[in-house]
């Protein structure tokens, strides 16, 4: 998918000086014509609500007559704190409209690297913490989203706690920051996206195969000890993890219950 940066005409030169040389930067007036001239999907990135609202003035009836083409092929990523009216306008006009708040977005230069990279779905480009649902919704580089409970960001052993009122993304989408607390995007995706987990398990260099190794990884990710399992002796958990015994179905169900997962999920870790 081709990616373009949308800019006001008087800012194109300034963008050229700061963004990677290969970046295609287009003015809003040219966008109206060029976005509909291709049959390939394209992604247009623009920064700032003021830029967008000033661009409204340049759009005439011709632009709105092309909206069928826009909805077929054109995706738009707006980095701004946009009100609901703007969101509706964008969602109605484009195939996909992703709106990311400026505070939590990757810097534009890093964002473009991720969008044009090999595995954009493995990076996080923005997101929003919602204290009401106790979740953070993360936008990935392939523009899909994933919802993650805040409870997964447990304090570290050295006492660093997440500050959910201060959320940002860093390291080209590889790090989520909650104040001084940092979480690996890989760890979060591995825990909450079964397809990502499957892909990463294939990439393990020295694969620890078997149910026991998967159980051990999941147990430690959840911060549990072998003694934390109800109705099962810690020595039994140790034997299962080392692959010395094959657990019965009823034992697996008890283990899954203590881990808070479906029994079938354990072996995917």
């Amino acid at each position: 998918m081709k990616t373009f940066v949308l800019a006001e005409n008087n800012k194109i030169e300034a963008f050229k000086a700061t963004l990677p040389r290969k970046t295609k930067i287009v003015g809003w007036e040219a966008f109206a014509q060029s976005a509909v001239q291709t049959n390939d999907d394209s992604l247009w990135v623009t920064e700032g609500l003021e830029t967008l609202t000033r661009a409204f003035d340049t759009l005439d009836e011709t632009f709105y007559k092309q909206q069928n083409e826009l909805r077929k092929h054109v995706k738009l990523c707006l980095i701004a704190d946009a009100p609901i009216e703007i969101r509706r306008w964008l969602e109605a006009l484009f195939k996909d409209a992703i709106i990311i708040s400026q505070e939590s977005s990757l810097p534009l230069e890093q964002l473009l690297e991720v969008l044009n990279g090999k595995n954009p779905e493995r990076s996080i480009i923005g997101g929003q913490v919602d204290e009401m649902t106790h979740t953070v919704t993360l936008v990935r580089g392939d523009l899909n989203s994933i919802v993650v409970p805040l409870s997964t960001f447990r304090p570290s052993g050295d006492g660093v706690r997440p500050d959910f009122s201060s959320f940002s993304i860093d390291d080209y989408g590889q790090t989520l920051k909650f104040g001084t607390y940092e979480a690996s995007a890989d760890a979060v995706l591995y825990e909450f996206d079964s397809l990502y987990r499957r892909a990463r398990k294939v990439e393990l260099a020295k694969k620890e195969k078997g149910f026991g190794a998967s159980l051990r990884r999941l147990r430690l990710q959840k911060g549990l000890r072998q003694t934390d399992f109800l109705e099962i002796d810690a020595r039994e958990i140790g034997r299962i993890e080392r692959g010395e015994v094959k657990p019965r179905k009823s034992t697996i169900e008890k283990i899954a219950s203590s881990l808070g997962v479906d029994p079938k999920e354990i072996s995917t870790h």
Binding site: N119, G157, D158, Q174, T175, S184, D186, E203, Q221
Partner: protein
């Protein structure tokens, strides 16, 4: 805050970072070697890369030698952040 291993100016200026963050994949213990959108997990028990991708040959030899030279410090930092899964215990038996 995360642990950041101090690197030479040359490595830093090339965009390399080595981190242990508050939330990593807990097992096996590792440091994250990062450059742009790529991350390599370097195992503290294995002293080797844990994943086939991205390819290990992309990481400068100088950086890997620096990891090995600072192994004790890295282990101490991991153990401090992840006391339930320390490097040298190999977990509960």
């Amino acid at each position: 805050m995360p642990y950041n291993l101090d690197l030479s100016d040359e490595l830093k200026n090339s965009g390399w970072k080595v981190k242990i963050r508050e939330k990593e994949r807990a097992e096996p213990p590792h440091v994250s070697v990062m450059k742009k959108q790529e991350t390599w997990r370097w195992g503290l028990r294995e002293q080797a890369f844990l994943d086939k991708k991205p390819p290990a040959w992309l990481v400068p030899k100088e950086l890997i030698e620096h990891l090995q030279a600072n192994l004790e410090k890295l282990i101490a930092e991991w153990d401090s952040k992840y006391p339930h899964n320390p490097v040298n215990s190999e977990g509960e038996k």
